[in-house]
């Protein structure tokens, strides 16, 4: 018997639109509507919309909330003013990554953490178990819907002014009250719109009426991989550290937080392996778990719609991690050549 899958407030919208629904992190989500490739191209050239209501929202409030988060998160939360947002990591004692998330400062002593759907419970429990006096951690995921609108024409289509990346403010879109965040997972200009759960269908309808193309999780994955955004569970896990993953920029190693000693050690000694982006030089699509000759493993792989070739990320020994190095990937028993590139894999021609 199948476990019961959760549904977002937009489930009916997706089914009525003919989306192909798949299980993802305990949710029944659209993987594609018309097709991964046209949806991907819509986001790169115009505007696409994603239902990301399955993601988790944790409120962390109280007079000691800032101190608490400084001890839990890798990045420097003290740098945030009201209206700012920041990419950060929730780390364990070994320097591993419990989740990667965005923290929003809503006000003095008021923070919102948007966590991966797959890590909603682990992240909540991790924080709740370590709560300190004067801080309250609350899982509010069921109170909100979240729609990402991404692409070079996204702000224009939504009638929004271009505000700096990693900022947020309250606003209204066609009668729906939303928190507008200049964040996303595609490498394009865009926003993530957070609204009350019950308002999500109205928000979705408004966004599509403004010309955004409905996009599924398939395009979300190809888009994020082209710009080398890691996926927790694939490229980063509780067993991988931020330095090896190339996420040292999201860590302030001068402050104290869980696992910082281990991260300082890895930084000082140099990581044994590094997460590198690569492109295939032969016709083949790399996939998660494929071995790399000489040591290492592919953690994410797909076909890049923009480059029309296989791309991916892999952990390889640090001494073989330089850009332009050749990699041989074992594609179901067949050796296939790839080349390490600099981030991002896909960069828009300007």
């Amino acid at each position: 018997m199948e476990a019961t899958l959760k549904r977002t407030p937009l489930y009916t919208r997706h089914v009525e639109a003919g989306a192909r629904m798949v299980p993802f992190a305990g949710w029944e989500m659209p993987v594609q509507y018309e097709g991964v490739i046209p949806e991907h191209r819509a986001v790169r050239t115009d505007c696409g919309a994603f239902d990301v209501s399955h993601m988790g929202q944790l409120h962390v409030d109280g007079p000691s909330a800032l101190d608490f988060l400084q001890g839990m998160l890798s990045n420097d939360v003290a740098r945030l003013a009201d209206g700012d947002a920041q990419y950060t990591l929730l780390t364990n004692e070994r320097g591993g990554i419990v989740d990667d998330l965005i923290v929003y400062r809503l006000g003095h002593g008021r923070f919102l953490l948007v966590v991966n759907a797959s890590n909603r419970a682990p992240a909540y429990e991790w924080l709740k178990d370590r709560e300190i006096p004067g801080t309250d951690v609350r899982d509010a995921s069921d109170e909100y819907g979240l729609v990402a609108v991404q692409g070079p024409r996204s702000l224009e289509r939504l009638g929004l002014e271009e505000t700096p990346a990693f900022t947020h403010r309250m606003g209204e879109l066609d009668g729906v009250e939303v928190m507008v965040s200049r964040t996303g997972y595609t490498g394009e200009l865009g926003v993530e719109l957070c609204c009350a759960e019950d308002d999500t269908p109205a928000l979705w309808d408004a966004v599509l009426a403004r010309g955004a193309v409905a996009c599924g999780l398939g395009a979300r994955d190809t888009l994020r991989l082209e710009v080398c955004y890691p996926l927790h569970g694939n490229d980063i896990t509780q067993e991988t550290d931020a330095i090896s993953a190339g996420l040292g920029w999201a860590c302030n190693l001068d402050k104290d937080f869980t696992g910082v000693e281990e991260l300082r050690r890895v930084r000082d000694e140099g990581p044994e392996q590094r997460l590198v982006p690569f492109v295939m030089e032969e016709k083949a699509v790399p996939r998660q778990g494929m071995p790399v000759a000489g040591g290492g493993e592919v953690t994410s792989g797909t076909h890049s719609p923009m480059l029309d070739r296989g791309i991916g990320m892999a952990y390889v020994p640090a001494e073989r991690a330089a850009p332009e190095s050749e990699l041989t990937i074992d594609v179901r028993g067949k050796p296939r050549q790839a080349r390490i590139v600099k981030k991002p894999i896909y960069r828009k021609e300007t």
């Binding site: 192909r20 993987v31 594609q32 097709g35 991964v36 490739i37 398939g218 190809t222 016709k283 083949a284 699509v285 996939r287 797909t302 076909h303 719609p305 029309d308 296989g310 179901r332």
Partner: protein, 131 residues
Amino acid sequence: MAAAESYPDELKYHPEHDWARVEGDEAVLGVTWFAQDALGELVHFEAPEVGATVSKDAAYGEVESVKAVSDVISPLSGEVLEVNPRAVDEPEVVNDDPYGDGWLIRIRMSDTSEVDVLLDVAAYKAHIAEQ
């Protein structure tokens, strides 16, 4: 643009969603509309070499979409005479025209009696109705 669902009457079908167009002792092979729809937009066809031997019910290649890879099962046994270069260079042709320009390989059959055990269109349609 993806093709509309169809299953031509003149083809023979294998339950693993492959078709054969029998022409004398040769056959052209491909995947059905059902197979390409289940996979989504194809981005790679890992083809066999010309001259290779294919065996009924065994994989002779792979078709891969953005999200998934699938073996292509041969409905018949024989020797590969030709690989469709368009399916290799532009695999999306399989989505656009699975029974025409999107054919995969042409073989010379080693046992033409194998044709008799393949499904006709009515039997194949009944098979996919159960999926």
